[in-house]
């Protein structure tokens, strides 16, 4: 499924064609190749926000990690603002940042220390970040009096705010969000969503949001895709998606597209845990 909204003459923010990725799993001395992405094709225009919905193991994180230059592909291509994600990884790394479900910081270091470290990798000197870091933390609603506390003393919501500040600090033109609100309380969730809107409005960032949250996808994204067992089943505006599957809600459209709901998967997991 391909849907392009590309201004004439400039490359799209993300151009993925027939992208394939497999992993080798060991099962009782046997090696089995498992497809994580099977011929995924889509484009994202500059400044657009695209949400990808999918169950656990559908390939969402693999897609984000391929675009983050953390994985090498097995076939197809992925270009970020015209740069090959696998051959020009340095150029891609300068343009991309990521906020994932895990905040991922040095636990004993403070928010300021962690942000300072991240800033150096993007070429910012201590004199450039001295005034900038407290300002960025203030913008994401992080309390100034806790900026020097070790990260391990902060709540998950607070840590996620620092992750947002890290993304804001590097002014990414492509922001990859891998379930950024999973496990957050409603207020923190709302703050993260507000941040995503701000990144688009003020920084003209292009956003790829991988999420479980249907409501979040619906309110934030211009187009929503459904990824199921490594295949991108569709990618279009929510209204078109509902119309195509004759559904009143995005959840109903998801069920119609995949034949399953998120709850089915949760029930399946619960059964396995009980067994």
């Amino acid at each position: 499924m391909t849907l392009s909204r590309i201004p004439a003459g400039s490359p799209p923010a993300v151009d993925v064609r027939d992208l394939r990725k497999e992993f080798v799993r060991r099962e009782r001395r046997r090696r089995r190749r498992v497809a994580a992405l099977e011929g995924v094709t889509f484009t994202i225009a500059r400044g657009e926000c695209v949400a990808i919905l999918g169950q656990n193991g559908s390939g969402k994180s693999t897609l984000v990690r391929l675009l983050s230059t953390l994985l090498l592909h097995d076939g197809g291509s992925a270009r970020v603002f015209g740069h090959d994600a696998f051959r020009e990884s340095r150029a891609v790394q300068r343009l991309v940042n990521r906020v994932s479900v895990e905040a991922s910081f040095f636990k004993k270091m403070s928010a300021l220390e962690n942000l300072g470290y991240a800033a150096r990798f993007y070429g910012m000197t201590p004199s450039q970040t001295r005034g900038k870091l407290p300002e960025i933390l203030r913008r994401v609603g992080f309390p100034a009096d806790r900026a020097r506390e070790p990260m391990e003393h902060l709540s998950r919501g607070m840590q996620q705010k620092v992750a947002l500040a890290r993304a804001l600090l590097t002014s990414p033109v492509l922001l990859l969000l891998d379930e950024p609100t999973t496990g957050l309380d409603p207020r923190s969730k709302q703050e993260v969503q507000e941040f995503i809107r701000e990144m688009r409005a003020e920084h003209d960032s292009t956003i790829l949001l991988c999420t479980h949250d249907m409501a979040e996808a619906e309110i934030l994204a211009d187009r929503v895709g459904i990824l199921d067992r490594g295949e991108l089943l569709c990618l279009e505006p929510v209204a078109d998606l509902k119309r195509r599957f004759g559904a009143d809600t995005l959840e109903a459209a998801f069920m119609a597209a995949t034949g399953r709901s998120f709850e089915d998967e949760q029930d399946e997991r619960d059964r396995k845990e009980l067994a």
Binding site: F23, V24, T62, R65, S68, T69, L70, L71, L72, R90, Q93, R94, V96, R98, S100, E102, S104, F105, F106, K107, K108, M109, E113, G116, Y117, A118, A119, R120, F121, Y122, G123, M124, T125, P126, P150, R166
Partner: protein, 273 residues
């Protein structure tokens, strides 16, 4: 030209970031460092005290104690460089930051050299404290010591150790479960063949051959002569270290880059491995 200068500036700022981060971590884990330092001092004392039990003249006893002390200090210095560079990946995986570091726009050589620069600075501070503590405790006399030459030789040896450390740093990348332990095995093998507390001449012939490619062999031989007899920077110790450094650093970078590609292909570049 201007673009090259901007790239170089960017990389140097990235390198300073790695050093800065490690300084923060030392500050935050300071009691771990204090405990590790005390353990190293105690460990070195147990070796140096052996000299006190040998039935020889006072001068010979002092020389033997100094020989042991130099072995302990040099090994503590080179061992910490090796350990820090080797744990580049294991550390990031443990903290859960590996994905952010490896997707950041900084080149891998700069990342690894940043770890190496920090390791050398940290190693010098630890070695100085260890040397001073043991000398004060046991009362060793080293009036002829040529500290400048000893430091210069250590600086040259550090390059080789950073290169070898880069090769072993790849192990936790390929095998998250066993990689770090394999790195310790490599470090232990180098300890045995390099003559840390004895002359390499006492080793079996095949081990003496291996000792020729260990940078620690030349660092230990040179430093002993410098501390005990006030020798200068001897060419016979310098040239093997330069050759090993010239070979091990590019080889280390190549091995690490190959390992990184393997990890990216097999999905091992993540916190859980």
């Amino acid at each position: 030209m201007r673009a090259a200068a901007a790239t170089l500036r960017h990389e140097l700022i990235g390198l300073s970031g790695v050093v800065e981060r490690n300084v923060y971590l030392v500050k935050r884990y300071i009691w771990w460092d204090v405990a590790f330092m005390l353990w190293t001092i105690a460990n070195t004392l147990t070796i140096v005290f052996i000299a006190r039990g040998v039935n020889v003249s006072a001068a010979e006893e002092n020389a033997l104690a100094t020989k042991f002390l130099v072995g302990g200090v040099i090994w503590a210095f080179l061992g910490i460089i090796f350990e820090i560079v080797t744990e580049t990946v294991a550390w990031e995986r443990w903290e859960g930051t590996i994905e952010y570091t490896f997707m950041a726009p900084v080149s891998r050589p700069v990342h690894l050299f940043g770890m190496g620069v920090f390791a050398v600075l940290y190693g010098i501070v630890r070695a100085a404290i260890l040397f001073a503590a043991v000398v004060a405790f046991i009362g060793i006399s080293v009036p002829d010591a040529n500290y400048t030459a000893a430091l210069a030789l250590l600086a040259i040896a550090s390059i080789s150790f950073i290169g070898i450390g880069m090769m072993t740093a790849v192990l936790p990348l390929i095998s998250p479960e066993k990689g770090t332990q394999l790195g310790f095995i490599a470090q232990g093998l180098m300890l045995v063949v390099s003559g840390v507390y004895y002359d390499v001449s006492v080793l079996p012939g095949w081990m003496q051959w291996i000792s020729k490619i260990s940078p620690a062999t030349y660092a230990l031989r040179g430093n002993r002569a410098q501390i005990l007899h006030g020798a200068g920077l001897e060419w016979r110790d310098v040239w093997p270290l330069l050759v090993i450094g010239l070979v091990s650093v590019p080889l280390g970078l190549f091995v690490f880059r190959t390992g990184e590609r393997y990890a990216k292909r097999h999905g091992k570049l993540k916190r859980s491995g």
